[in-house]
């Protein structure tokens, strides 16, 4: 199955040929400064009344050339840049780069490092999903969930801050270990948090999931079929909502994910409700994973190499992927044996997830487009990089 994507130029060119614009249809710019574009994403919509006839995403408003900058910095330094891509799963991004480098160098890490990495990755996932839940509520027009989401993220951020020293761009995982060992009261506080968040998720359900307006606005809206989702290259909750149980935590089982029990949540229809529901369930699963791991973190060093050792990859191409909060993040490194990578490419989940709206939103209304963009959980700095 192939997907046809049209550019704005092509559409306008066709219109000129016909010399007939019609009176019903009109173009409208949604973004880059639109409240629900989650950053600086721009859509050009062709509307008839409020019905979307065509939708063209236009990217590049926050392109910083992170891949290009990566060519002139060392491997260790590039890890710090990945924080700025998908800023709601910065630790997982760090891990993706570190994993590629470790695999290229055949570097062995110990159990303690892998356990800490897994716990922090799951913390990030919860943090990202609570935050997303709040923004989802706000996109639907309810302000209160936004503050609830931030409140619950705040608790977790302060726990992470104790160990990493920062709150958003965490810079925690490095090739060969983690930057700092966990603080002494980390385990105590994370247990407190698990106890705190479980009733909060029930509260989320009462406030948003049980609300009939939300159900009406998400059910059967923006259906992404299994085939379409696969051909768009969607990953993460978006793909799983369409009924494909692809989760690298299970399928690839990096870190210590093979030692813990958790289930991969999948949807049935692939509509907005499924995408919503999967993220709520994933928060519960992540809590389970943390709960299983936090009691028995093995002893050992937190870094197997010194932070100052220079990394040189052997000549060749290296690739590895990891499951972030939004899908599969692939890091491709081409090395020519120097201290800097010759070329780095990131296969970001958001970029591929984004294009599925060109199929989903056609025939729906502006309000539905807002819902769909929200359930795709896009981070625009990661789309543009």
């Amino acid at each position: 199955m192939t997907i046809q994507l049209k550019t704005l130029n092509e559409i306008l060119h066709n219109l000129d040929e016909k010399k007939h614009w019609g009176t019903k249809e009109y173009f409208i710019n949604m973004g880059p400064q639109h409240p629900s574009s989650h950053g600086v994403l721009r859509f050009v919509l062709k509307l008839e009344g409020e019905i979307i006839k065509e939708i063209i995403p236009i990217l590049g408003y926050i392109h910083r050339g992170i891949e290009k900058i990566g060519e002139s910095v060392s491997y260790r330094n590039f890890v710090h840049l990945t924080d700025r891509c998908d800023y709601f799963s910065s630790i997982i991004n760090n891990w993706a780069v570190s994993r590629t480098i470790e695999q290229a160098l055949n570097m062995e890490t110990n159990d303690r490092i892998e356990t800490i990495r897994t716990i922090f990755a799951e913390i990030q996932r919860i943090q990202s999903h609570t935050m997303w839940w709040g923004v989802f509520g706000m996109d639907l027009g309810a302000f209160t969930p936004f503050f609830y989401g931030f409140r619950d993220r705040e608790f977790l951020t302060s726990i992470v801050e104790e160990t990493c020293g920062s709150r958003l761009t965490m810079n925690y995982i490095q090739p060969g270990g983690v930057l700092y060992d966990i603080k002494s009261n980390f385990i105590k506080r994370i247990k407190q948090y698990i106890k705190y968040l479980r009733p909060r998720i029930e509260e989320y359900e009462r406030l948003i999931s049980d609300n009939v307006i939300v159900q009406k606005r998400t059910e059967n809206i923006g259906i992404l079929t299994k085939e379409k989702a696969l051909s768009f290259g969607s990953t993460g909750p978006v793909l799983r909502a369409s009924g494909v149980p692809l989760d690298l935590r299970k399928n690839d089982s990096y870190g210590v994910y093979d030692k813990v029990k958790f289930s991969v949540v999948i949807g049935t229809k692939g509509d907005s409700w499924d995408r919503y529901w999967i993220r709520i369930e994933e928060m519960r699963q992540s809590l389970n994973i943390i709960e299983q791991l936090v009691d028995n973190i093995p002893a050992g060093k937190h870094m197997v190499t010194k932070y100052t050792t220079k990394i040189k990859l052997p000549v060749g191409y290296y690739q590895s992927s990891i499951e972030t909060a939004r899908g599969i993040l692939g890091i491709f490194v081409a090395s020519n044996g120097m201290e800097n990578p010759y070329r780095i490419h990131m296969r970001s989940p958001n970029y591929n997830n984004l294009w599925s709206i060109t199929d989903m939103a056609v025939g729906l209304k502006i309000s539905d487009l807002v819902t769909i963009v929200s359930t795709l959980d896009l981070i625009i700095p990661d789309v543009d990089r």
């Binding site: 302000f143 606005r217 309000s367």
Partner: protein, 359 residues
């Protein structure tokens, strides 16, 4: 039972036969200034309260820097709006763009004329008061429509069209609910509607009929006020700010003022029709309690009931998400309108057979 004699300010002019043009002009001016002062004070207080209520719902503190507990925040906001530059978009329809905020605010001002704060405090007591309210409050829609149209902004235009379809649809339910209540009260005069509830508020007296009318009126009036869950014309996450996107400074403040004045007046109409207006609440048999209630002045009673309604509207506003436009229209035409029509028939049946309580 206390006998309430109804009076209003307009009588002062009517009764004196030798009133000159200057006196009448002075009278109108004084009413205008009183309205202005009342509106500004009221809006400032309600905005402050709304921000504090929202903060309480959202686990935060709310305004707390300007003055004691942030009490002067609204004054600061007003000063900011007064000093902001007025910007007119380049290709906008300048005249319509200029008058549409005025239309909105003047419609709100005019409806304030008939609000009975107490038996004696009312600007003018006309015999078709409730009809006057429903007619004049619809003028505000014109302001919104023209604002969206003249802004030369497609988002504003979408908002204006949404506003027109929403407000006109929900007007029907409001009128039908009012008609249902008029069947009970047998009068259009607002003071007489209040006095007809001396034996008890209408919300309890009509079996389920008045309760249904109350609920429909309440839902429809939230839609008329553009509050969440019916805030489609200014749906922030969809349309930016909707019809007032291209307005700044005092022109924006006019829309803002009109919104809050409408909030007050609509709540007042709800209170007058269903909850007894300025009449005190009594429990039959508890004479001491009833005397205590009587000692509270009527204006306090009205403001108390109105603030209760406003609080419920705020509660809904900070809890629910927004409806989609087609759901909104379906809710009105397929559910609220047939229900209120059936309700009206039931009401006439009840009244003809004198089946309601405390006849």
């Amino acid at each position: 039972m206390i006998n309430y004699s109804v009076d209003n300010f307009a009588n002062l002019v009517d009764n004196s036969n030798n009133s000159t043009v200057i006196e009448v002009a002075f009278y109108i001016l004084s009413i205008f200034i009183t309205c202005l002062i009342f509106i500004s004070l009221f809006v400032m207080v309600v905005v402050y309260i709304e921000r504090k209520v929202a903060a309480a719902f959202q686990c935060r503190v709310g305004p707390n820097r300007v003055g004691w507990k942030g009490i002067l925040q609204s004054v600061a906001d007003l000063l900011k709006l007064l000093t902001k530059e007025k910007i007119t978009p380049l290709y906008s329809d300048k005249f319509l763009h200029f008058i549409s905020p005025m239309l909105c605010i003047s419609a709100s001002f005019m409806t304030l004329l008939i609000v009975p704060f107490s038996p004696h405090i009312q600007i003018i007591n006309i015999d078709m008061g409730i009809l006057y309210w429903s007619a004049i409050s619809s003028l505000g829609i014109l302001g919104i429509l023209l604002a969206g149209w003249s802004s030369y902004n497609k988002w504003s235009l979408i908002s204006a069209v949404r506003a027109a379809s929403q407000l006109i649809s929900y007007e029907l339910s409001i009128i039908l609910s009012i008609l249902t209540m008029i069947i009970f009260t047998n009068t259009l005069n607002i003071q007489k509607i209040v006095l007809s509830q001396l034996n008890g508020c209408w919300i309890w007296r009509g079996h389920v009929v008045t309760l249904i009318a109350f609920i429909i009126f309440f839902i429809a009036s939230i839609a008329e006020l553009n509050k969440i869950p019916f805030d489609l014309p200014e749906g922030e996450s969809e349309l930016g700010a909707g019809f007032h996107t291209e307005y700044s400074g005092m022109q924006f403040a006019f829309f803002f003022l009109a919104e809050y004045v409408n909030l007050f007046i609509t709540s007042t109409i709800i209170v007058i029709l269903f909850l007894g207006g300025w009449l005190p609440w009594h429990i039959s048999g508890f004479s001491i309690f009833n005397e205590l209630m009587d000692s509270i002045p009527p204006i306090m009673w009205l403001l108390l009931k109105v603030s209760m309604i406003i609080f419920i509207i705020m509660w809904i506003r900070w809890t629910l998400p927004r409806l989609r436009i087609d759901h909104l229209i379906l809710l009105e035409w397929k559910f609220l309108l047939p229900t209120s029509l059936a309700n009206m028939v039931l009401a006439s049946f009840l009244v003809l057979n004198n089946l309601y309580f405390y006849v």
